[in-house]
Amino acid sequence: MTTARTKSLSGAAVPGVQRSPLTDALLNRRLWLTVLGWTVAVLIFFPIFWMVLTGFKTETEAIAEPSLIFSPTLESYAEVQQRAGYAKFALNSVVVAFGSTLLALLIAIPAAYSMAFLPTRRTKGTLLWMLSTKMLPPVGVLVPIYLLFRDTGLLDTRTGLIIVYTLMNLPIVVWMLYTFFKDMPKDILEAGRMDGASTLQEVLYLLLPLTLPGIASTGLLSVILSWNEAFWSLNLTSSNAAPLTAYIASFSSPEGLFWAKLSAASTMAIAPILVFGWLTQKQMVRGLTFGAVK
């Protein structure tokens, strides 16, 4: 009886064993939950699905009555690649997102290391102060940053965006690394030190390999945030350094209602980030909430 019940709970019907009303009710409940859960998920995901679909239509089909039946074409993808200089904007996004992430990791790893393994009385205060710099709304400092960038020639350059994104994400990166480093058993580092490892060796050969998954998800979160950032990219770049967020915004002009091309360009712009997001969703929560929800 017990085995029968556990088996039917896992979803498989057990032949030859009479099912009790209780398991029937459980199965029924699961069926309803499946229907409800999937309906909600599909509704939320629908705009993305529809965008991907529209990218494979011709412009005439895209703007016609919504329909699931059409013969898919790669026309819009080809046109976006050729005419709009998509590659340039994509390259800007890649350089800016990964450049700022690498820079942020380089600056943050030593800081997070010292906070996690050599804490002083001031460590907590420093961490909270870093968090508080995130509270400065970008629009509050738009004017000075714009003028500083104009005067130093950083306006519409990738370097300028990399600087802004590095500083924008630095507090989150330090925090997230700090929580990962703190979870690491101290004994391992202690043992390394006993064997005569220097601080640098300790970090390079013990800490980094052991916390690599944490560092990777921190890096991915930073890439996602930089890739999707659309306040500074819209205000500080125009033709040279514009990343994909700004390029997509150029489709908003009223005379350019090219839905299929917009969809194709958008699909390419969000696809890699969507995958990164799916991969790191669980670890990401730490960074997004500053360790307040684990």
Binding site: P47, K124, P138, L148, W259, K282
Partner: protein, 296 residues
Amino acid sequence: MNKTRTSGRTIGGLRTLSLQAPAVSLLFLWMIVPLAMTVWFSLQRYNLLMPGMTGFAGLENYEYLFTDPALWSAMGTTLLMVGWVLVITVVGGTLLAVLFQQEFMGQGIARVLAISPFFVMPTVSALVWKNMMMHPANGVLSWVAELFGLPAVDWFSSLPLTSIVIIVAWQWLPFALLILLTAMQSLDEDQVEAARMDGAGPIAIFFFITLPHLKRAISVVIMIEMIFLLTIFAEIFVTTSGGPGLATTNLAYLIYIRALLDFDVGLASAGGVIAIILANIVAIFLVRMVAKNLES
């Protein structure tokens, strides 16, 4: 003995200092320089279109700003946007977290689909909604309305603020869901089981066990969302450009208009100072909460 210990601490302190110095000094500069400049500019007569007219203005910019009906309209719009998006995402996120916590077939994939909008860049989600979803003639929503025999809605001209709220809520609902789902994982299953044994129904369990358990996570979601939502920009920029009239101009967009369209540095900076003060009122509570968590 005593001497070695002191020197040991100093070396440790020095090491800490040098390791943290780059991060701390860069962040300090990033915070203090623009902040000081914003405050300074806000007290100046400074318009890029009128190079001759410069000088100390005292509180003139603030006076002008506070008597400008556009500011109050923008404050109201900001408040409405933040308020509605918060209500939708927090209530919706909590319910969805409860739903996706249950076991059902393909639950993992369904969950991934539901959190996806959070990873879509704001310009893409705004344009996809504006064109393919909410277009009055060829959008999916008007097609659905027609299916039910309802009149099609011209979203952005008749319900501009609602349209923006829908788009932004669609992006942030998955954020609330993601955080609250994580928080649900630490819910004590035994406690729920015990309550069920005692005859508690699902609604009672939700209100007396689940909701109190999620209280902390919900307040974190509210505060983080508030900080980001106070300065919604890209979604307005690519859809309504703040219009029609001032209907969708929030504080962030108003500052943008004053700064980069009117080139009035002084006035825009005064607006910036107000935005900073507003954000910091929220931030104080968030920092306090994180600090409490750091102790435990």
